[in-house]
């Protein structure tokens, strides 16, 4: 598409379009309609804000870039999302050109609050178009919007759209193809005293910082609103925003003047904008007919009801887990079957030797062991997408907030933590819905403490050894206990992190409860596909490397004996097992369990197959065979190895230890640093060691063996 320049008659030429708007305004649906499937997802440099971009065909031979900004309510620089939105609009990011046009997606059913962001973006002086979305909801509210009048009053072209029905998209595209000019006069005014001071500050910024007028105006408002923070976080602000001491002291002088005059500078601009919006809308919206019964109201009466609210909530969660643990097992079996067939096929075509061993036992088995979780991840994201799109997610957070606030977390942390029971990976990825960066990080840090499905095989074999004669009811009890210990651990660690490492000024809990809407299947499927692709791609490369490393540890140095358990004993992994035996002996483990622990680092369920090799029962041994060899295993002095206490200690170790390369890879991606996954690995290892130590030594003290 190099012939973009042929359209010289177009003025101004559009190269980059940015979509901005509030959360729940249908921005992503419009983005999907614009870009079809020509989109990609990445990260903005240095932050974990997701960068969604794609291309839009304006006309034949005219393809332009479209960037979907994170949905925000404001451009104040409070959260990373808002910071990025602002920086993109001001053209401050090196990898993103300043947009030529902003398409503001506005929820027509919630105009007043949506126009607040529009007003902020207008101040930046970019050419703008408003996509007045969800026009069908206005009809349902019994109202009518005079679009032409609104457009005139705002000084912005407006196209009514219903993005999920593809209505208005062509009109919007045509308008963009014809070019949009910036034409804006600020409609709102603050008190004259304030206006004067802002003017003063704008001049300072233009002169000292070489900003252009509009940027300086927007910046002046932010600087004045920083208030108390300017005092406390002087350094951070001056470092991040590169202001000279001189300028900062001048800002402080202005703020002092406000204080002396009793002017509320911080909120003056907010109130002035809203006052203006009210005046504008008064002329443009009118009630057409009596409003029918409100579906959202009726649904909320049940879904947030004191009694039925909990029933529905538990029902939805139970259904989600039922699907994950039943439906997902079919495709999981197919994947398992596929990888074992692939292994057989590879064995058949590669001559016996190191290469075959590497490919079959290292790569195929290792990657297969992780890809097998893909169906669970897909189903989880299907549910998360549906819950989010329908508006129920906010209700779940609303119901659970009281519980979560007990450990200092936000109601929105609930779904990520719950998802982690299936697999920590989607749990951690879905933590993106939490706006506060520190709350998000705490959630990510504790999510792997929730017992994921990969722990099930380990718990199952240990419980089988622990109490072979127990009824299934008793076994389920022990299993439940393991889950409970994990939950308690997660809560305790979250509370601890919130009080120490990730202490923050208590963030405000304000959350919109959007109207219930039918989900857009297209958006949900695209969402699922994106998440899974990220999992396979990012985690995949890392897992591949780790699989090879672990395979090498188990297979080298080569031992001449045919006996596989002897070979493992002499391998690096075996040597490491012997090496760490003194450290893990206080937990009741010998070097053989040590090998299992090392092998489990790739993925927890590998413990079972590793132990099968170590105890020489064959990799695909039945559970009973393995159980029997566990029961007869002993220390050199003849004491049995797998006593009930050791089994319990081992299970507790598996609750707490972060033995999962995929999680580490995903945490790396989500935090954009090695520091956090490393910290997480270490703290969880210490926690696991201490907890197992307490169980084993404490158990011995009170007479168990």
């Amino acid at each position: 598409m190099s012939s973009v320049n042929t359209s010289t008659q177009q003025e101004p030429t559009i190269r980059t379009i940015v979509l901005a708007g509030n959360p729940n305004s249908g921005k992503t649906t419009l983005f999907n309609a614009f870009t079809k499937l020509r989109q990609k997802v990445g990260n903005y440099p240095g932050v974990t804000v997701e960068k969604k971009s794609g291309t839009l065909v304006l006309a034949k031979d005219r393809v332009v870039n479209v960037i979907d900004l994170p949905g925000t309510y404001s451009l104040a620089v409070r959260s990373p999302d808002e910071q990025i939105a602002r920086d993109v609009l001001l053209g401050k990011l090196s990898d993103t050109p300043r947009p030529d046009v902003v398409v503001c997606v506005v929820d027509a059913g919630n105009l007043e609050r949506n126009l607040y962001l529009v007003s902020q973006i207008q101040d930046l002086g970019l050419p703008m178009v408003i996509a007045l979305n969800m026009m069908d909801e206005v009809e349902r509210q019994g109202r009518e919007i005079d679009v032409a009048k609104l457009s005139k009053r705002l000084g912005v072209p407006i196209i009514p759209t219903i993005a999920n029905q593809n209505k208005g998209i062509d009109e919007l595209t045509d308008l963009l193809a014809n070019g949009v000019k910036a034409q804006y006069q600020r409609g709102w005014r603050m008190a004259p005293d304030l206006e004067e001071e802002v003017e003063h500050l704008v001049r300072l910024l233009v002169n000292h910082e070489k900003m252009h007028q509009q940027e300086a105006f927007a910046e002046a408002l932010v600087l004045l609103s920083l208030g108390q923070k300017l005092k406390n976080e002087e350094k951070a602000i001056s470092a991040k925003r590169f202001y000279k001491e001189e300028l900062i002291s001048q800002i402080k002088v202005i703020q002092e003047r406000f204080k002396a005059k009793g002017l509320r500078a911080r909120t003056a601009a907010i109130e002035a904008r809203y006052d203006w919006i009210k005046v504008v809308l008064k002329d443009c919206i009118r009630d057409k007919h009596k409003k029918g019964p409100d579906l959202t109201d009726q649904l909320d009466a049940v879904l947030t009801h004191k009694f039925w609210g909990w029933i529905c909530f538990l029902g939805i969660m139970a259904f989600m887990f039922y699907m994950i643990f039943t439906i997902a097992t079919y495709p999981m079996d197919w994947i398992d079957f596929g990888f074992s067939k692939l292994g057989e096929w590879a064995s058949a075509i590669i001559p016996e030797g190191v290469l075959r061993d590497l490919v079959v036992n290292g790569i195929i088995a290792g990657v297969g062991g992780v890809v097998i979780f893909l169906p669970q991840i897909l189903i989880l994201f299907l549910f998360i997408g549906l819950l989010q799109d329908t508006g129920y997610m906010a209700r779940a957070a609303f119901i659970m907030d009281r519980v979560m606030s007990k450990v200092g977390l936000h109601g929105k942390s609930f779904i990520p933590l719950l998802s982690s029971f299936a697999c920590a990976i989607p749990g951690i990825m879905s933590a993106r819905t939490i706006e506060s960066p520190k709350d998000r990080l705490v959630t990510v840090m504790v999510a792997p403490l929730m017992s994921c499905s990969a722990r099930l095989p380990v718990y199952a074999i240990m419980i089988a050894v622990l109490m072979p004669a127990a009824t299934s009811f008793q076994k389920a009890g022990i299993m439940l206990l393991m889950y409970l210990i994990g939950i308690i651990g997660a809560c305790a660690m979250a509370a601890l992190f919130k009080k120490t490492l990730l202490r923050s000024q208590k963030p405000v809990f304000i959350m919109e409860l959007p109207p219930y809407r039918l989900p857009s299947w297209k958006a949900v499927v695209i969402h699922m596909w994106e998440r899974s692709k990220l999992f396979l791609k990012r985690a995949g490369t890392f897992i591949l490397a780790m699989s090879i490393v672990l395979w090498a540890l188990m297979s080298y140095p080569k031992h001449s004996v045919e006996d596989t358990s002897e070979a493992v004993k002499h391998s690096f992994a075996g040597q490491m097992g012997s090496l760490i035996e003194p450290v893990i002996k206080p937990l009741g483990y010998d070097w053989r369990i040590g090998i299992g622990l090392i092998g489990s680092f790739a993925a927890r369920e590998v413990f079972v197959s590793t132990m099968s090799i170590v105890f020489n029962v064959g990799e695909d041994a039945k559970e009973e065979t393995l159980r029997e060899s566990f029961q007869s295993a002993a220390w050199p002095d003849g004491r049995p190895l797998f006593t009930p206490l050791v089994c319990l200690s081992l299970m507790v170790f598996y609750i707490f230890a972060l033995q999962c390369v995929s999680t580490i890879a995903v945490v790396y991606r989500e935090t954009n640093s090695w520091q956090w996954p490393l910290f997480q690995f270490v703290y969880m290892a210490i926690l696991a060691y201490l907890a197992s130590l307490v169980v084993y030594q404490g158990g011995r003290l009170i007479g168990f063996y």
Binding site: E112, R113, R264, Y274, D300, I510
Partner: protein, 83 residues
């Protein structure tokens, strides 16, 4: 004078279905801005829609949409009750 209005109560003390007009923020803090940006500004009509099943947070209707905030936040907002 609104200060002397006996009908000024805290948002957190309002019962379900009660309506009023936001009077002012009882405590000025950095968070006020964030709440105001969501449209909860002095002079604006507000209605308490419901409380969460565990009594917190609180759900209000403001500027035609539904917003939830913790009682802790609602404690700072003074409301003049409508007759």
């Amino acid at each position: 004078m609104p200060e002397n209005n006996p009908k000024t109560i805290l948002l957190s003390q309002m019962s379900v279905g009660q309506k009023g007009v936001i009077h002012e923020f009882a405590v000025e803090s950095d968070d006020c801005e964030q709440i105001e940006e969501m449209g909860v500004t002095p002079g604006e009509a507000v209605e308490v829609v419901r409380y969460a099943p565990l009594g917190d947070p609180i759900e209000i209707k403001v500027r035609g949409y539904l917003l939830s905030l913790r009682k802790e936040e609602a404690d700072r907002i003074e409301v003049r009750l409508s007759a």
